[in-house]
Each structure stands twice: as structure tokens, then as C-alpha cells.
């Protein structure tokens, strides 16, 4: 049958696995095993669905750049990992929980380090949570209850385009029947991003001064007096900060949605610790919550899988036969930059496109194995490459939305490739045999 004669199939309630919003109301049109239409997705989700649907011409595996069968590639990769003294498994933010669980099993049997994209996005939020707790909520609570939304160091208009319309400022909620009219939106950032247009109040803070402003807010919320000198270098006036503190205290339900403007800037986990403590202070006045704006589609999921299996959310080392956690020691950028890692398995991630130069150089020096759905900067230099089906398009499994709500993705297209869970499962089986012998 020609492609023209193939019937159209419309699949509703498709789950988008691109970003941490994990929108589960998409409608996808499939013709001749290709996605030809997408409804309700944002620009990112639409590009993701349409961009990943047509790849069928890559070999299932490459060894030294040459096409190889799955079994042969598993054998080569398993031996490289088993022979390494200090291997690293990294990535995992764009695959599903069942595959992530296999990666943790592989790290366990290899006595390897396993780290995920969290360490270079919201790892500092996780460290703050471990220090002082994270007073958080679900996005359903935000939609139904929040009348004050404070986006701090996040730019949802470009990173999570449907956050405003589906979860936070625009939708009508149980206690916010007029939607946007019932809410005040504040954006705190170092530059007027496109998200500033969606805010009622834009506060342009100086780079690296977040902690000072959050600490000033804590003082004001606690009823302590501060003067202009305390906020002199922050880019904000004392009046602006007092105004924000009063809005926080007097709202019915507030939420601070924290982005990488806080986690990747000077202060890192201390910025987040300050925010979490500020929210705790606000409990003396009203109901408040905080939520990290998680980037990749299932980066929240790998934190959850690692935490339930090892007790720690990222940067977990098994070299002593039991899990240990120490950011800076067992995190990927540090291990690679120090030249300690002697083999690496990268799953559903492209660190060679985003890591610091010295870490990239180390990845290029050592035996590198990559599992991904498409060619990337990392697959280009890997010794062994596995091509797998894309989570949410060719493979179904569990994803965690940024608020920790688990959602089941659907398979909308047949796959010419194995899924991540199958490849990782075969690696676990073969590495176990090698290690046992």
C-alpha cells in the first residue's frame, strides 16, 4: 500500500516527554508510520514530536563507527565497562523510569558511579532539600489555589512554554475562577526575558545577588527592620523588596518557581536553601510552596528512581559495594575534569554538547558508550553507539512530571529499534556474567 493510501490515525491524550511539564493532553495524527500533525503542543513539544518521528535509517548499533548487530555491540560495551576500574554512567533524564532502574542495576553490578543531568540543572535544589526540606506542592494545587506566582531565575516562556497556560497563571482553578485575573505574577531575573511580558511585576536583579535579596526578604517576613545598605548592590530598591515581602505575606497561596538562574549562579545550593527557608518563614503568615522548574522530560524521574533504590538523587558511587553520595566528588563534571573516570556509558544525554571543556576532553580520551535515539555530539565520538526508540514516541514507560506526579507515556509509532530498557537490560545481564567470572 502506498503511503498516500494509509489511513490517518488520531491519538489523543499523548504525553509529551520533552520538558518537565510532561503535558498529557496532546493529540497526534499518524499517517504511514509518521507523525504528521500535533495539536495542543507548544513549539518545543511540536518540534520534538515531529523531529523524532522519521528516523529509521540508522543502524541499531555502531562499533568503532561501523554498523554492528545488537548482540555484538552489547558484547563490546559490556567488556569495556567490566574492564574499567572507575566507570561512570551518566544522563538518563530523557528516558523512562523502567530503563533508569536498569541503569541503577548496571551501576550496582559494576560498582560504578551513576550520575544524571540533575547534577548540572537542579542538583543544588536537591542539596538544599536535604539540608532544610522542600515545602512543595503539586501543579494541581498551583492551578486551583495559587494567587501569587513568583518565577525566580526561570524563563518558562522559552523553557516550559505551556507552564503559564496549563498549570500556573492562565488556567481557571477551583478557588481561582477568573484564572489570570485572580493571580499576580512576579518575575525575578537578571534580564528581561520573554517571560517578563507575562508578568505583572518584573524585578531585574543584579547577577549573583539572589541570596542577598532572599535573605532581605526573610528579614522582612520575620518583621525585622533592614535599611538601604543591606540591598545596595542588588539592583533592587528596598521599596521593591518590601513590596514583594508584603505581597508574599498577604497572599492566600503563594508559590516560588525556581529556575537555573538560582542553581547555576554563584551561591548555588545556598541560594536554594535560602528560598526554602523563606518559604518556611512565610508559613507564619499564609500558605506558601516552592517548586523547581525541572528541564528534561524525566529528570525528576531519575532523581526518584535513584533515591528509592540508593537513598540519593544524583552523584551516587558504588565503588565500595554500597551507595555513597557526595556532590563534587561523585558528580560527572568533577569526575571527568579530574581525569578519574576511565570508561563511560551515556544514556539519553549529550554531555559533549554542554559539559565544560576539560570534562569533554576526558570523555574523548576514554572508552565511551552512548545509548541515544539520534546522532549527537556524544554519539559522534563514542566507541559503541546503540540506537534506541524515543521515550513517548516509540517506547512507553513512566515519567515523573516536575511536581513528582507519575504519568504513563504512550507509544504512538512502531519502532525499528530496541528501547532503552532492553539495551540496558542486556548490558546488565552480560556485565553480570563477566563480573561473576
Amino acid at each position: 500500500m502506498s503511503a498516500d493510501a494509509q489511513p490517518k490515525t488520531v491519538i489523543d491524550d499523548v504525553v509529551c516527554a520533552f520538558c518537565g511539564c510532561v503535558c498529557d493532553d496532546l493529540s497526534v495524527t499518524v499517517e504511514a508510520d509518521q507523525i504528521t500533525g500535533v495539536k495542543r503542543a507548544c513549539a518545543l513539544g511540536k518540534a520534538w514530536l515531529l523531529g523524532h518521528s522519521t528516523e529509521t535509517d540508522r543502524p541499531v548499533a555502531l562499533v568503532d563507527g561501523q554498523p554492528a548487530g545488537l548482540e555484538e555491540a552489547v558484547e563490546v560495551a559490556a567488556n569495556l565497562l567490566a574492564e574499567a576500574r572507575y566507570p561512570l554512567i551518566y544522563g538518563l533524564s530523557s528516558t523512562y523510569c523502567e530503563a533508569q532502574r536498569q541503569a541503577v542495576a548496571l551501576a550496582d553490578v559494576l560498582q560504578a558511579t551513576i550520575d544524571c543531568c540533575t547534577s548540572v540543572c537542579h542538583g543544588p535544589s536537591g542539596m538544599a532539600m536535604q539540608s532544610v526540606g522542600e515545602p512543595t506542592c503539586s501543579l494541581g494545587e498551583v492551578k486551583n489555589r495559587a494567587d501569587l506566582l513568583i518565577y525566580w531565575g526561570s524563563n518558562p516562556a522559552e523553557s516550559h512554554p505551556r507552564h503559564f497556560t496549563r498549570y500556573s497563571s492562565i488556567p481557571k482553578g477551583l478557588f481561582r475562577p477568573n484564572g489570570r485575573k485572580d493571580r499576580t505574577v512576579v518575575l525575578v531575573d537578571v534580564r528581561p526575558t520573554p517571560s517578563a511580558r507575562a508578568a505583572d511585576i518584573f524585578l531585574q536583579i543584579r547577577p549573583g545577588k539572589d541570596f542577598e535579596v532572599i535573605w532581605a526578604l526573610r528579614a522582612l517576613v520575620q518583621g525585622k527592620a533592614i535599611d538601604d545598605r543591606a540591598v545596595a548592590d542588588t539592583g533592587l530598591t528596598l521599596e521593591q523588596i518590601q513590596n514583594l515581602a508584603e505581597r508574599m505575606k498577604s497572599c492566600e497561596y503563594g508559590i516560588i518557581l525556581v529556575g537555573q538562574g538560582l542553581t547555576q549562579s554563584h551561591g548555588k545550593h545556598m541560594n536554594l536553601t535560602a528560598v526554602f527557608l523563606l518559604v518556611r518563614d512565610l508559613y507564619a503568615h499564609t500558605k506558601f510552596a516552592v517548586m523547581p522548574m525541572r528541564g528534561h522530560g524525566n529528570v525528576t524521574g531519575i532523581d526518584a528512581v535513584l533515591a528509592w533504590q540508593t537513598g540519593y538523587p544524583f552523584g551516587v558511587n558504588f565503588s565500595r559495594g554500597y551507595p555513597r553520595f557526595n556532590p563534587g566528588e561523585f558528580t560527572a563534571v568533577d569526575l571527568l575534569s579530574r581525569g578519574e573516570t576511565d570508561a563511560a556509558l551515556i544514556v539519553a544525554s549529550d554531555p559533549i554538547a554542554v559539559f565544560p571543556r576539560r570534562a569533554i576532553e576526558r570523555l574523548k580520551e576514554i572508552p565511551l558508550i552512548a545509548i541515544d535515539t539520534h546522532e549527537s555530539e556524544t554519539t559522534k565520538v563514542a566507541k559503541v553507539v546503540f540506537t534506541t526508540g524515543t521515550t513517548g514516541i516509540h517506547a512507553e514507560g513512566t515519567l515523573y512530571r516536575m511536581d513528582g506526579i507519575p504519568l504513563r507515556t504512550r507509544q504512538v509509532l512502531p519502532s525499528a529499534y530496541p528501547n532503552d530498557e532492553e539495551v540496558l537490560g542486556q548490558l546488565v545481564a552480560r556485565v553480570t556474567e563477566l563480573v561473576d567470572n
Partner: protein, 112 residues
């Protein structure tokens, strides 16, 4: 003036996000991640026009990209995450696992 010290912010952009799905070899992605957004006053001081190549020097390394005027505040510059921004990041994480990706000082100078 041949060079200026600016504070660099690396981050997400919509074109970077959609471009990576079209393909990292695509012109859309390559343009999105190799463009330095600068304030008009800073560009004027360096004699720069939209599209001019600039060299960015940072503690982590250096990169040559094209510049473009935008609404970033004076003294700041923005570049979307990608191979060029990663060349500029220092690997020091201060015990957090997270390298400084935002808010570090760079020197920007005109090329040619």
C-alpha cells in the same frame, strides 16, 4: 576600545530548544547556540554591528561567535546553551557538581 568585560549568562532559548529537535546540524540550531546577545551600548563601544564575529575569553576557555543586539542590560551578555557556551565554562563546581554556567566574567573583543 577593543575589548569589554561583561558578565555572561548562558541559558535556554526557544530557538535552541526547537533547533535541537530539528537536528543539531541544522542551521537553526547552529545559529541559536553561536550567537552572543549584547546590549546596544556595549556593542557601540566595541564598534560592533549585528552579525559581527566576536571572541569571548573566559576562565574555562574561549570561543568565537557572532553578536547580536538585544534587550540584555548593559554589562551583561547572553548565549544559549550549546557547544560554544560549554567552551567557556570552567570545570570548577565548588563541591556542588554544578559548574558556574551563569554570571561569570568574560572578555569580549571584536574579531578582525
Amino acid at each position: 576600545m577593543n575589548q569589554a568585560k561583561l558578565i555572561l549568562i548562558a541559558g535556554r532559548s526557544l530557538k535552541q530548544g526547537t533547533g535541537m529537535n530539528i537536528g543539531k546540524e541544522s542551521a537553526d540550531y547552529q545559529t541559536a547556540v553561536s550567537t552572543l546577545e549584547m546590549n546596544g551600548e556595549d556593542m557601540g563601544r566595541l564598534g560592533l554591528q549585528d552579525g559581527d564575529p566576536v571572541r569571548i575569553k573566559a576562565a574555562g576557555g574561549e570561543a568565537i561567535v557572532n553578536c547580536r543586539g538585544s534587550n540584555v542590560p548593559e554589562g551583561l551578555a547572553f548565549i544559549a546553551y550549546g557547544p560554544w557556551s560549554s567552551q567557556l565554562m570552567d570545570q570548577e563546581t565548588h563541591g556542588s557538581g554544578m559548574p558556574d554556567s551563569k554570571g561569570f566574567e568574560v572578555e569580549v573583543e571584536r574579531v578582525g
